[in-house]
C-alpha cells in the first residue's frame, strides 16, 4: 500500500514531464520545427557532455535555494512572492562582504554567505512583521519589497561600489565559490561550489521543518493559528520567523550569483527572474525539500538545454517555457494524470 503510493508519487511527475514534452513536440510540429531533432538537442544540452552537466548543475543552485524559500513559506501558510527582492539584497550583501573584507577562504566564504542570509532574512522579515502586527497581506508587501530592493540595490552599487561596466568589483579570490577544478572537469562550464551550499540548505530546510520543535511550531501556525495560540505558541513570532527563514534562503540564492556564477553584482535593469522561477520550482517539487531539488534539476536543465536547442535546431528558447508551464499544469492536475495513467496501463494489459 505504502509502496504503491510512493510509486504513484514518482510516476505522476514523470508522466507529467512526458505529457509536457509531447504537447511541446506537437506545437513544434505545427509550427514547422523538427521535434525529434530539437529534443535530442535539448537533452544533449542538459546532460550531453561534461560541459552541459556543469552548466545544468550551476543553474540549479540558485533555483534550489529560491525554491526552498518559496516552499518553506508555503509550508507555514505564507506565500512569499518576494524571493526576487530578498535575493537581490542577499546578492548585494554577499558581494559587499566579498569585496570589502579580507579574510582566509575558510572564513570569508561562510561570512559572505551569512551576510547574504542575514540580509535576505531582514528583507523577508519586514512583510512578516507587517503581517503579524498590522495584518497586511504578505502578497502585496512582498511584491512592493521587490521593487524597493531592485531600485535600492542599484542605487547602492551606483554610489558606493561602482566599477567600470555598471557593476561592482569582483569579489576577492578568498570569497569566491568558483572552482578552477570543477570548471576544468566540466570543460570550462561555470560550475562552482554553490551546489553544495544549496544541497546543504535543502537538508537544513527538511530538518528544520520536520525534526525540530521550531519546525513543529512553524507548521502548526501555518495550519491553524488559533490552535497554535491555544497551545501556547507565539503566533506573531512564528510568522516573522517563517518569513525571515524564507528570506534567508532567498538571500543565500543571491550569494550563489554573487560569489559563484558572476563574482560581482551588476546594476540590474530588471528583475533576475530567479525568484519567480523559485515559485515554479517549489510547486513542481510539491514544497518538499527533495522535491525542490528535483524540480530545480528539471527546471534548470530545461533552461540550459533550451540554449542548445536554439543553437542546434533553431527552436526559440521560449518553447521550453511553454513545456515547463505544461509540466506544471499536469503536475497540478494529478487527477487527470492518474486517469490517463490508468487508461494507459489498462490498455497495455489488454
Amino acid at each position: 500500500m505504502q509502496n504503491k503510493n510512493n510509486k504513484v508519487k514518482l510516476l505522476v511527475p514523470l508522466f507529467s514531464v512526458f505529457l509536457g514534452l509531447l504537447i511541446g513536440g506537437i506545437i513544434m510540429l505545427l509550427s514547422g520545427y523538427k521535434p525529434i531533432e530539437a529534443y535530442v538537442a535539448l537533452f544533449q544540452g542538459m546532460v550531453g557532455d561534461p560541459y552541459f552537466i556543469g552548466e545544468t548543475i550551476r543553474q540549479m543552485s540558485p533555483l534550489i535555494l529560491s525554491g526552498l524559500a518559496v516552499a518553506f513559506a508555503f509550508r507555514t501558510g505564507l506565500f512569499n512572492i518576494g524571493v526576487e527582492g530578498q535575493l537581490l539584497v542577499g546578492w548585494l550583501a554577499a558581494v559587499y562582504v566579498g569585496v570589502t573584507v579580507d579574510a582566509p577562504t575558510i572564513v570569508h566564504v561562510p561570512l559572505a554567505i551569512l551576510a547574504a542570509a542575514v540580509a535576505g532574512a531582514l528583507w523577508g522579515a519586514v512583510p512578516g512583521i507587517l503581517k503579524a502586527r498590522f495584518k497586511v497581506h504578505e502578497v502585496i508587501t512582498t511584491i512592493m519589497m521587490n521593487y524597493i530592493a531592485l531600485y535600492s540595490t542599484n542605487e547602492i552599487i551606483r554610489n558606493f561600489l561602482l566599477a567600470p561596466g555598471e557593476r561592482t568589483e569582483n569579489v576577492k579570490e578568498s570569497a569566491s565559490l568558483a572552482s578552477p577544478f570543477l570548471q576544468s572537469i566540466t570543460e570550462y562550464s561555470t560550475l562552482h561550489y554553490g551546489i553544495i551550499v544549496a544541497l546543504i540548505a535543502a537538508v537544513i530546510m527538511w530538518f528544520l521543518l520536520w525534526r525540530t520543535t521550531m519546525g513543529y511550531e512553524l507548521r502548526a501556525v501555518g495550519f491553524n493559528q488559533h490552535a497554535s495560540q491555544y497551545a501556547g505558541i507565539n503566533v506573531s513570532k512564528n510568522i516573522v520567523l517563517s518569513m525571515a527563514i524564507s528570506g534567508a534562503f532567498a538571500g543565500i540564492a543571491g550569494s550563489m550569483e554573487g560569489l559563484g556564477t558572476y563574482q560581482y553584482m551588476t546594476i540590474n535593469a530588471a528583475f533576475t527572474g530567479v525568484g519567480f522561477d523559485g515559485i515554479a520550482v517549489a510547486l513542481l517539487g510539491a514544497n518538499s525539500a527533495i522535491g525542490v531539488v528535483l524540480g530545480a534539476a528539471l527546471f534548470g536543465g530545461l533552461k540550459i538545454g533550451a540554449l542548445n536547442m536554439q543553437s542546434i535546431a533553431g527552436v526559440p528558447t521560449e518553447l521550453v517555457g511553454v513545456v515547463i508551464a505544461l509540466i506544471i499544469f499536469f503536475v497540478a492536475c494529478s487527477y487527470i494524470v492518474h486517469w490517463l495513467m490508468n487508461r494507459v496501463s489498462k490498455g497495455g494489459k489488454i
Binding site: 520536520w210 525534526r211 525540530t212 520543535t213 521550531m214 519546525g215 513543529y216 507548521r219 502548526a220 495550519f223 491553524n224 488559533h226 490552535a227 497554535s228 495560540q229 491555544y230 497551545a231 501556547g232 505558541i233 507565539n234
Partner: protein, 508 residues
C-alpha cells in the same frame, strides 16, 4: 402510498467505508420522525442522499408516492424537500435576507429586489414565529437565529418535508424550547419533519416514530410512544447504556482557582465579564450554567491567557496567572478542553500523534535541545489512543479524518493525561452520542476523584446538574448564584440564568 418519503435499500459508499448499507426509511405525512444513531452511524449521509447532495450506489427513493431520481438539491427543492444541515450552510457576510433568497432571488429590472424580499422574509417569519432580523448580517447574529434562518430558507422555497440534522446540539435550553414549538407548529400546518438528534429526551418529547441505524445499517423503526430512552439507547448502541452518572460524594479541599473582581472586554470592547468572583477547589467539579453570550467564552479565554483581563486577578493555587501567556498558564498546571475543537483543539492537518503533544512537544522526552524525538511522541500517542479508545486507523492519520466524537476523545486524552491541577471542560460533549458522553463524563469524575479541580461549562442543563458538585450561574458577566445540584431543578436554573432572583444568593 401513505408515505411522503420512502427510501428503500439505500447504499452509499465512501472510499474504504460503507456509510449506508441497505437502509430503509419511511416517513408519514404530518409526523415528526426521529433518526437515531451513534456518531458516524450514517445519519447525515442518508439525509444528504435524500437531499440530492450524494448519489446512492443502490436503492430507490419515492417522494409522495412517485419514484424520483434525485441527484441535485434543485430537484429536492422542487420536490418540496428542505434541509437544515448539521453544519450551517450560511454565508457569514451576507444578510439574513440575502441568505434566504440566494438562488431564488426576486428581481426588479434585473436588480435583486431586496426590499420586497425582506418583506417576504418578515411575513414568513411572523407566520411561523421564527424571529429574525432580515437586515442583520449572519456573522452578527446568535446561533439560534442562524438556525431560524436555515429553517426560513427551506420554507421560503415552499418545502413541506423538512430535514433537521442535529439542530439542538448548538442551542441553549431556551432556544430548544422555542425550536420544539416551531416544529410543532410546522407539523400542524401539514408539513413532515425528519429530526436527527442524540438527545433521547427530545425524541420522547416531540417525535412520533423513530428509525434507528447502527454502523450504516438499519436497526428498525419504532413508535415513540411504545418505547423509552433506555430501549432506544440500547437499540442504537447495541448494549445497555447508563444515563445517570455514577459518582461518589465530592470532598473539596483547598482552593485551586481563585478569581477576584475580574473584568474582561469582548471584541467590541464592551465588558463581557464584569466583576466576576469564583473559586474552584481541589476535588470538586464546578459547573457554570448560563445562556450563551453571558461572558462564558471570555471568562475561559481570560483564564487560559487567550484574552486580556482588564481588571481583577486570577490565581492558580498561589500563583498569579493574570494576563500570563497561554504557555505559562499551561505550565502552571492548567488543562483546557476547548469549546471549539476544530478552531482551538486540534491542528487538523497534523497527525493524531502530533496533536497529542500540542502543549508538550518542547519538553522531554518529546524533544531534546529543540530536536523532536518521534518514537516517544508516537509511543505516547499510541498509548493514549488505546487508553481512551480513540477510533483512528493509526497515530499517523491526520486528525481531520476522525469523526467529531473521536476528535473530542483525542483532545480529552491529551488534556487529562497531562495530569493538571485544574481542568477546564467547555462543552465537552456537544454533538456526541450517548456512548461517548458516558465515557467523557466518567473521565471528568475520575479527575475529580483524583483530587483535581474541574470547571465545566455547558449549555446542557442535564449535564450540568448530573456532573457538577456545585453550580455557578452566570448572567451578564457575573456569577449571580451558586446552587447545589441536588437541591435545584432545571426550572430554577432556567430562571436564574434569565436574570431572575432567588431568596439568598451568596456567590462565594
Amino acid at each position: 402510498m401513505e408515505y411522503v418519503i420512502d427510501m428503500r435499500n439505500i447504499r452509499k459508499e465512501f472510499p474504504g467505508i460503507v456509510a449506508n448499507d441497505n437502509i430503509t426509511l419511511q416517513v408519514k405525512k404530518g409526523e415528526i420522525h426521529a433518526l437515531l444513531g451513534e456518531n458516524g452511524a450514517g445519519k447525515s449521509t442518508l439525509m444528504n442522499v435524500l437531499f440530492g447532495l450524494y448519489e446512492p450506489e443502490q436503492g430507490e427513493i419515492y417522494v409522495k408516492g412517485n419514484k424520483v431520481v434525485n441527484n441535485d438539491p434543485n430537484i429536492a427543492n422542487s420536490l418540496g424537500i428542505g434541509m437544515v444541515h448539521q453544519h450551517f450552510m450560511l454565508v457569514d457576510k451576507f444578510t439574513v435576507t440575502e441568505n434566504i433568497i440566494l438562488g431564488k432571488e426576486p428581481t426588479k429590472g434585473g436588480k435583486v429586489d431586496l426590499q420586497t424580499a425582506a418583506k417576504e422574509v418578515q411575513a414568513l417569519s411572523d407566520q411561523y414565529g421564527l424571529r429574525v432580523d432580515p437586515y442583520a448580517k449572519v456573522e452578527d447574529i446568535s446561533v439560534g437565529m442562524q438556525q431560524r434562518v436555515e429553517i426560513l430558507k427551506t420554507l421560503y422555497r415552499g418545502a413541506d418535508i423538512l430535514i433537521f440534522d442535529e439542530p439542538t446540539a448548538v442551542l441553549t435550553p431556551q432556544e430548544i424550547v422555542e425550536l420544539i414549538q416551531i416544529m410543532r407548529k410546522l407539523v400542524s400546518e401539514g408539513k413532515s419533519i425528519i429530526l436527527i438528534t442524540h438527545k433521547l429526551k427530545e425524541i420522547m418529547e416531540v417525535c412520533d416514530r423513530c428509525t434507528v441505524i447502527r454502523r450504516g445499517r438499519g436497526v428498525g423503526t419504532v413508535d415513540v410512544k411504545d418505547s423509552n430512552p433506555d430501549s432506544l439507547a440500547a437499540m442504537m448502541v447495541g448494549r445497555e447504556v447508563n444515563f445517570t452518572v455514577i459518582k461518589g460524594i465530592s470532598e473539596p479541599k483547598e482552593s485551586v482557582l481563585t478569581i477576584k473582581d475580574l473584568v474582561v472586554l469582548d471584541s467590541r470592547k464592551v465588558p463581557a465579564v464584569n466583576g466576576l468572583n469564583l473559586t474552584v477547589k481541589a476535588g470538586e467539579i464546578v459547573g457554570i450554567a448560563g445562556v450563551d453570550g453571558n461572558g462564558q467564552s471570555e471568562l475561559l479565554e481570560a483564564i487560559t491567557g487567550l484574552r486580556k483581563a482588564n481588571e481583577g486577578s486570577i490565581h492558580l493555587r498561589d500563583k498569579d496567572i493574570t494576563n500570563k501567556s497561554p504557555r505559562s498558564v499551561t505550565v502552571s498546571g492548567l488543562a483546557h478542553i476547548p469549546q471549539d475543537r476544530h478552531k482551538h483543539g486540534l491542528v487538523l492537518d497534523f497527525s493524531v500523534g502530533e496533536n497529542m503533544v500540542l502543549q508538550t512537544y518542547y519538553q522531554k522526552p518529546f524533544s531534546t535541545n529543540g530536536i523532536l524525538k518521534f518514537s516517544p511522541i508516537f509511543d505516547k500517542a499510541k498509548k493514549l489512543i488505546s487508553e481512551y479508545d480513540v477510533r483512528t486507523p493509526d497515530a499517523y492519520t491526520p486528525a481531520r479524518a476522525l469523526s467529531g466524537g473521536n476528535q473530542q476523545k483525542a483532545i480529552i486524552a491529551r488534556e487529562v493525561d497531562r495530569d493538571p491541577d485544574f481542568l477546564i471542560a467547555a462543552q465537552p460533549t456537544r454533538g456526541l452520542d450517548v456512548g461517548a458522553i458516558e465515557f467523557i463524563h466518567s473521565k471528568l469524575i475520575e479527575q475529580r476523584d483524583k483530587g483535581k479541580a474541574v470547571l465545566l461549562v455547558s449549555f446542557e442543563l442535564d449535564e450540568i446538574i448530573n456532573v457538577s458538585d456545585r453550580i455557578a450561574v452566570m448572567y451578564e458577566g457575573k456569577i449571580v448564584a451558586i446552587v447545589d445540584p441536588k437541591e435545584t431543578t432545571e426550572q430554577e436554573l432556567g430562571l436564574l440564568m434569565a436574570g431572575g432572583k432567588r431568596g439568598t444568593v451568596n456567590a462565594e
